[in-house]
Symmetry: C2
Subunit: 553 residues, 2 copies
């Protein structure tokens, strides 16, 4: 064990907090994730700032709430000027590299306004969330009648073609499709095909390919500057399809029952109702879909775990375990049919709670290895953790989270946060229109204080409320029942306090502000003095003297 020279920041996409064996899943086996947990601290109550890829990631990368950075949904650009992890670390002499996905859309208008070209070093970083790009692939080479979802090039797709995979989009036709009995594509986009093996060599599928890219990055940076490497996988995110042997490692018998109750459908909150009744909700409420899709999802997780093991082996063999902080997390979860829901979007634990394991090579962390920490942790805590790990002082006027170092080092922590906050902006979803909501009204805020989970909905709806002490599965929405006014008022007050935070006062530090107090007179600004004897002698001298020529009237 040693000191921290590098940070390997591994993110999976849509990996549920409870699909790790170390988190207690009864059938899912993740021996390699568990290896990391045995060497580090597993944070059991970690929450994302938004249960959707783009918004969540922008919070990870900026260390700021969605309400602060404004990139509130997929493909809502991150506005130019927002500082990122890369900016904070470069100041410390640490490079920040991207290997994989960010789901970041650049603020093209803002960049043009400031004359920032994406071809310049600075412009490229601004366009890529502050990272230097080793490889960027957002992993969604979807194509519909109106074109590709993602107009950026896909290095993975290009590589597949180099390997001889045919067609213009082997990402779809090989990596994310099987073959049906007629020899036609069985697209992974269709849930009925989830149990098929993808028509690709296992080692050519996305997760192994990206793992090799990460190892090449690390190899290529031996002896160079300290780095943070954001290794960011698309999996186990949909399309739910995985190559052999992972496609049938798990079967229907391994699928845990859904966490749901018919009572949830009885007088539900209108927003919850709309999500339950959208197509993913309807599909994942079917048992046949769950029993076919969840084994594929577990296979994808197993492949992620397998590749993570290869990565750990490499890190151990190359000595990187001695000087590298390793973080394993996800940008959000997946309902998988719990609460009659598919996808993510809302704030039940399967969606908003994430796995988070932090391995710290420093000797100070020895006493916590293999332990579980149940403090309320937010995704935005990683940015200050990284700054601190690299020897910096997290800038509290910019970064809204707090360093996890005290937890990693088993130090006493006082005054930790009382609640975590998360947000969801569904203003660009069709169901917002169905609910009659304008662009500013289709927004949700969650406050979770460790017991009560409170959800405020814009648009004039009542709040939702869950008591996880009496109802750990979040099946009873107390927001529709009388008798909880006091809790609602208390949690609303927490949201109110949070919403007033000075999140945009980012261009002046707290120390600078404190340093200004009482100083204006020292620079000659004299307000409210009547007579010269009210001034310090040196100041009095500054405004005194002979008058010179008389210009008066």
């Amino acid at each position: 064990m040693g000191q921290i020279r590098n940070i390997l920041f591994v993110m999976y996409d849509q990996l549920r907090h409870d699909y790790l064996s170390c988190a207690g899943h009864p059938t899912m086996k993740t021996p390699n994730f568990d290896r990391l947990a045995a060497m580090g601290v597993r944070f059991s109550r970690a929450y994302v700032q938004s249960p959707v890829c783009g918004a969540s990631r922008m919070s990870f990368y900026t260390g700021r709430y969605v309400h602060s950075h404004g990139a509130a949904w997929n493909n809502f650009p991150l506005k130019v000027g927002e500082a990122t992890l890369g900016d904070h670390l470069r100041r410390l002499g640490v490079e920040s590299w991207l290997v994989g996905k960010t789901h970041m859309r650049a603020d093209a208008e803002g960049m043009a306004r400031l004359g920032l070209s994406p071809d310049s070093v600075i412009g490229a970083r601004v366009a890529d969330c502050g990272f230097d790009v080793w490889i960027r692939d957002d992993g969604l080479v979807a194509e519909g009648p109106e074109g590709f979802y993602d107009s950026k090039r896909s290095p993975y797709n290009e590589w597949l073609r180099q390997q001889g995979y045919e067609g213009h989009n082997p990402w779809h036709s090989n990596a994310n499709s099987g073959i049906d009995e007629n020899g036609d594509l069985a697209s992974g986009w269709l849930l009925k095909n989830a149990a098929e093996p993808a028509n690709i060599r296992e080692e050519d599928s996305e997760t192994p390919w990206l793992t090799r890219q990460a190892m090449a990055f690390i190899e290529g940076h031996k002896g160079g500057a300290p780095w943070l490497c954001h290794l960011s996988y698309i999996k186990p995110h949909w399309p739910y399809i995985v190559p052999a042997p992972w496609h049938d490692l798990y079967g229907p018998d391994d699928v845990v029952p859904p966490v749901r109750d018919m009572a949830e459908r009885d007088d539900p909150h209108p927003v919850f109702n709309a999500f339950m009744n959208n197509q993913p909700g309807q599909a994942f409420s079917r048992d046949d879909v769950r029993l076919s899709v969840i084994p594929a999802y577990m296979g994808l997780v197993a492949q992620c775990d397998d590749q993570f093991g290869k990565l750990l082996d490499y890190l151990q063999a190359s000595g990187r375990m001695d000087d590298t902080m390793i973080v394993l997390t996800s940008d959000h979860g997946d309902y998988l049919g719990d609460h009659w829901m598919g996808e993510k979007d809302l704030f039940h634990d399967p969606s908003v709670r994430i796995p988070l394991i932090v391995y710290d090579p420093r000797p100070e962390a020895d006493r916590t290895r293999g332990t579980v920490c149940d403090a309320l942790v937010e995704a935005i805590d990683l940015a200050p953790t990284f700054v601190e790990a690299m020897g910096g002082v997290p800038p509290a006027h910019v970064l809204e989270g707090r360093s996890l170092a005290p937890f990693l080092h088993g130090e006493p922590v006082t005054g930790w946060r009382e609640a975590v906050f998360s947000e969801y902006d569904y203003s660009a979803m069709a169901l917002a229109g169905n609910l009659g909501l304008g662009p500013n009204e289709a927004r949700l805020f969650m406050v979770f204080d460790g017991r009560y989970k409170f959800i405020h909905a814009e648009g004039g709806f009542r709040p939702m409320l869950f008591d996880l002490e009496t109802d750990p599965q979040e099946l009873v929405d107390l927001g529709k029942l009388p008798g909880h006014e006091a809790e609602i008022e208390r949690l609303e007050r927490m949201l109110f306090d949070w919403a007033r935070r000075p999140a945009q006062r980012t261009a002046i530090s707290h120390d600078e502000i404190l340093g200004m107090r009482g100083k204006s007179r020292r620079y000659g600004i004299i307000i409210g003095a009547v007579d010269p004897d009210e001034l310090a002698p040196d100041l009095r001298a500054k405004i005194s003297g002979r008058a010179g020529r008389d210009y008066r009237g």
Copy 2:
């Protein structure tokens, strides 16, 4: 009358809303301000977003609340990336020029991070609040034992030296000082000297100098691109001293009695108490100070009015009244001893309410000329008013105010705002330390709904509340009395709703958001479909086809 080709945006500094004769002042005469009011609309209930120069101006120039732009006090930098009036107008082919003061501090760290040099065209605009600079002079060439308050050059001071004024700082020793009986400087910084005439030729004082600069700008831009000219005076801001003949145009008999009551000092709100007891509050609570300073203030206002008359004469003679929208306003007021206060800072009307007169040359405005509008108006309404005047559509995802055009054109207005909001961040003031407040706690929020003025104070204090219907002079703080819980709760709820607004979602427009609804499938993102027959035929075709070579297993 004609169409709008130019905008002359005139701002005074610290000009009270009620020191205009057209606003009903009993002794102050402002015939030229009144001339504009007779040709335009006077908004009688206009409020600034913060009663302090820097923060207020950043709201005028960005069209956004202080809580949104973050430049919450003087010399708190405006963070790089914030779009300004200049950005919005340039998009319409309109140039934006500065003649005078902005009190803007550039975000040097943010500019360096983005590689923006203040020597470049774009960098210079970012550093000067989005304006191109005809002349910038912030008008505070104060010097104390630790140096100058403002490290930028002062074109006005340089010009004074060219005119033969001696010494290294004629801004202080001539423009803002008189001569005492011994031939020594009688500094305008000291309130005891307010009645002295400044030791400068009247035409060389700041207000006439800047007026000539504005005329030179307008002359120099004949036949060029349409422009907005921000003519931004330092006066009637302190130092309270004015050259002859203005220094004795008004005397103690012209001073109106202070609006104050001994009851205000009885169990006052702790923050109000701290401000009353700071040096400006103590000084302006002395009648001798008021009777000497207020005539000087009135003289400064009279000189501003006189110069405004010269400007109007020039505009009329040159034909500019036919194609130029003219706005007259101020960045905040001045307590002048009302409520036992000096300076501005808090939210009584003398401080937070501003004069606002808008002259619109368009024929559509003929029906409102000379009228008074009592709608609740905010400083941030000017930016969208200007965009609209120049033929643009105000971007509602960036600009938080609303165009005043309907009021100018006498059109019916529905759904206007229910309240105005203002903020004050005193975290850099010594009195915050005296109150034991950290950098995030020394902040105030005002909500005024046209009747009740509610002030929320961070730091654990009770709120303040005034009922302007029963107490138009704001002498009774209902926040310390029982029986007003319902009003407080209602106004708190308005502040809560306001604080949650999506103010940072500035990189995507409402139309773009609405245009995304229901579109992801058209780009191939298929979530929740089980069978191909759930897809539109053209989408189904996109994901179908022959599988090609078999790579499975």
